[in-house]
Symmetry: D2
């Protein structure tokens, strides 16, 4: 880290900072400028050390040099991670992976019907959540335990891997037998108890970016899972909160190349939550592939007007099929297949 002292700080105050740096086990390199003095510090970054030095008299700012994540970074692992889901799906490989399905499992009919047409259209993984984090307690919260057998049924009939959201550390044990990927939703990206718990399994984990999370925050959240020994982490950009109101969130398309540069983990895009409107999904899906995304997570429902959750952003079956067709040339232009 680099410690920037306030202009005109006295020698004795600077000395105390230098002593503290040594006491913390680092090597200080003071550089005396015309206006400010700067102390470069050689050694590993820790938040505690930075906070300690920041709290000292005379210190203006402490600037970190190393990035705040380790296991998620390209520095410790230069080659890209490929996360294997089930027997046949690989996220981060040449194939752009399509995760599709309804926002929530509502009934046997709705769920199996959806599974059938998304599979036929070419999707690789089926969405199916039983616990829905709704901003209001008066809205539909999901089928909960009652839906477990529906996930089981879909998995058996279709032979597709299933991704399901977990909200509570106690859901993990419950859902492990019927799921292939655990999803950590945007609202739980910093639910560290939950991250620690999925880090103890060896199932793939999809971590969605929080609405006000920076890319660094997302990588630090992934770090919680990696630290537990579970390396099967996939990141998901799904829009951040800004002042723009035409879209539900603002898709941060730059996050895709930024994550690819600094992390070895695969990254997918969720254009449905990013926009909140079905008519925007095709344009954002194409942009995501063009920007280098390893996959897409798309909401579709046999009858969006009757969806219990997120109908306005769900594609109808015909729209979903059309989208996959329309995406092929963009996947190809990006040197991939769908």
């Amino acid at each position: 880290m680099v410690i920037i002292m306030k202009p005109g700080t006295e020698e004795t105050v600077i000395s105390k900072v230098i002593n503290k740096v040594e006491e913390l086990g680092f090597k200080p390199h003071p550089i005396y400028g015309v206006i400010n003095t700067v102390v470069a510090v050689i050694g590993d970054r820790t938040q505690e050390a930075m906070d300690t030095l920041q709290s000292m008299p005379g210190v203006d700012r402490v600037v970190p040099i190393l990035r705040p994540y380790k296991l998620a970074g390209r520095e410790v692992q230069p080659e890209s991670t490929v996360v294997r889901v089930g027997e046949q799906v690989e996220i981060g490989g040449r194939v752009v992976v399509i995760i599709a399905g309804p926002c929530a499992v509502e009934s046997r009919e709705q769920y199996l019907a959806t599974g059938r047409y998304v599979k036929a259209a070419g999707a690789h993984i089926l969405r199916g959540s039983l616990y829905k984090p709704r901003t209001s307690p008066h809205d539909f919260q999901g089928l909960h335990e009652a839906g477990i057998e529906l996930l089981q049924a879909a998995r058996e009939e279709l032979g597709m891997p299933i991704i399901t959201e977990v909200l509570d550390p106690r859901h993990i044990e419950l859902l492990e037998p019927v799921t292939d990927v655990f999803q950590i939703g945007a609202r739980n990206m910093q639910n560290f108890a939950l991250l620690v718990e999925v880090g103890r399994t060896n199932k793939p984990v999809l971590v969605k970016r929080g609405m006000s999370a920076t890319v660094d925050d997302l990588l630090k959240a992934a770090e919680y899972v990696l630290v537990g020994g579970n390396n099967n982490v996939v990141l998901c950009e799904r829009g951040i909160r800004t002042f723009e109101t035409q879209t539900r969130n603002t898709l941060d398309i730059s996050a895709v190349p930024v994550i690819k540069r600094f992390s070895h983990l695969p990254v997918i895009v969720d254009p449905s939550h990013a926009s909140g409107e079905a008519w925007l999904v095709p344009a954002l899906s194409k942009a995501a592939l063009a920007a280098g995304a390893d996959g897409l997570m798309i909401e579709t429902h046999p009858s969006p007007q009757n969806a219990l959750v997120d109908g306005p952003q769900s594609l109808r079956p015909d729209e979903f099929r059309q989208l996959l067709d329309d995406l092929r040339p963009f996947a190809e232009a990006a040197g991939r297949t769908l």
Copy 2:
């Protein structure tokens, strides 16, 4: 709600929307304008109904009329709620309540020393968290179970009520015997599993606003606790995420009068997390009292340079005492006492 149809929508398409409104159990009032047709809908708001109508062809936008929370709103309870903590403290009454203490319980010495000087200075409730939600897994996470006896010791010695943060639904049972207020941190404001669980207790709950949460989102989060039957909810403004980088977060001071107008729940301000820097805490504390806050939550540490968490924003003991003195005239100007 009001349904705004797209300009030039055909009669038959409008009819389908009107029929759907009736089918959903509401009463439609179509108004035919020169450019757009509008359908006013009489009846209670539900997200499902709004989503269904939004998904229909010809619909441009659906505008809600009722606010998205009920129990938290002044409409169902015009008089302000006063939340009683322990025997003697009331949040939302004439006294401005001061919650103070370290960000995390670190050791017996640190914790009891802090408790003693904050009590002597006039604070009402002692902060003491054993589980800390840190953005990086490499940072100090708190004492966990090992700290329970320290909360117990402080409570006995000082006779002050204690507020402690819960991150996991399983913490609630564990911490209930030694705590007086459960704190839901900003990162868990939409951890609905946790909100449901504290809603089942009858302990006071402090809900901190999420970094990207609107005031409406905060009130909907409070609604989760209220729906469970626990009416002892206190809201806390602690800064939101914006593009400004001089402060860790941007204190949304307007949230205080806005919440007071639309909700009956008490609201306090956390100037320490809002700013991230100790030197800013006095100005923001004064502003909070002037804007009508029912209390303050302030970080202080016997030796901020040695704090394991958030040292830069912690006041030293002398700074803390000085602050309470300096706040008195502002409390008085606001018609309250400290």
Copy 3:
């Protein structure tokens, strides 16, 4: 517009609002709900009328129905506008238009050298600004009048149309003889005196989105130019300000399909300013074409390390050539040519 009254507003207060609506020349339609009364208002939207009604006792909110722009909207002109620049370039047609060049004209050598290689690589319009809006007065501000002859020289030698930024209404007359497109920069998007002035010319005008402007704000800024009788308006998405710090701004890729849906004006993307870093430009350029942009505005410099402005985001000549090659398959996938 729709006027939403506060819950429990008395009959007499509602009557006054209804009378005011009539007095303003509109037709009121009151609808009495169980909790709120709503007054739908038939007639054209004006901000004054909305403000007047919003200021009345008993009024909770006034919701506009019509969009706040007219001439820029698809409602008055369903077919897409194609803006002709010089003899040969059309923005909004089948060809994706490439605008390229240095951030600022620095010298004859630098400018002509850039013009030659961007033309050879296939760019259609040459950037060349003499006035640079720099956040600090201590930074290079451009060549000012001294550069006019360089624009003239480049135009003659290369036969390419030139786009130049105007900051002051007095620049317009000065630069009109040597420019083909006037650029209104992001910082001047709401410099209404400037917009009015370019609206009086019949030169094409490129309006860049302000850093905190919504899409609606951008369309209202375009409206200022259109109202003056100048229909040759091109919009440019160049990133908005958010809390994310890995990129200089956050490219709002959704703005492209949103503008295309609500407005007939062509829209291009500036990936250089959106990202602030040259290595991000290729991914964002591809995403822009995939999302439907009509063109790109790209910074390039013969020697970015010696650029006086925005070197870090400027492509080297070889990088620029490579980018255009790499974009071709994406343009094709989008049904266009480069």
Copy 4:
């Protein structure tokens, strides 16, 4: 500045950066860490030098040490500036200065009536703008030249200094004879042509913070005026754009103490534009005084329902008088008078 090299950068690449630093006239201090090498650079900061180094191979980031403004900073002038307006008013002194009046001058009756009651209530400076920057060209734009005689009339009758907004460099000459303070509105904070022009006068200038401007940006805008030789600059916090929708903007109350710490210029708060609603103005005004603001800028209108601009945020005459009374104890608590 400090140059942080990418991990694993080769010796020869680092040497080139060190040579470049010397070539630019600075003194380099390389520090070789375990993972990254850092080059501390002694010498003055310029954006050009930072951009040049940022563009070089192997460079990860360039971190500035000095703040990006000079004349506006406390480093060059430790004592606070007091800006004198007319004979009797001082902004930045012990008296909290109240600037009040309508958003726009509408007519002789409206303007003089407002001037009379704001003076009687104790305001110090009268607002009076003839040019209004409206987001839509279809909204009222002000009286323009026709209103000059009204400013003249109010100034003579009331003997109060007048503040008026300028939008176009050509307005300055026109309005100089009838105004005491030039106002640069939020939308023009980065209209550098305008800033340069007011910097050439010696009239006080009020610079409002742009909606997406950081505090640093505001200070750099002030620097444009100061560089011209005009030291009479007052800064104004008026809310920034965030995702919160309950208020028109989010008042960044922390900006007051932050500006006070880093700059010697006086700072006032505009609670009317920050909130957009009259009922919020009292709470925000009190908070502003508590946070240390040197003054307030408040909109008031004899009849807000008939205001041509910003009626919903204008106080009625009785509300304005009440507010000034209610503010007195807060001014006193802050050690000032009203």
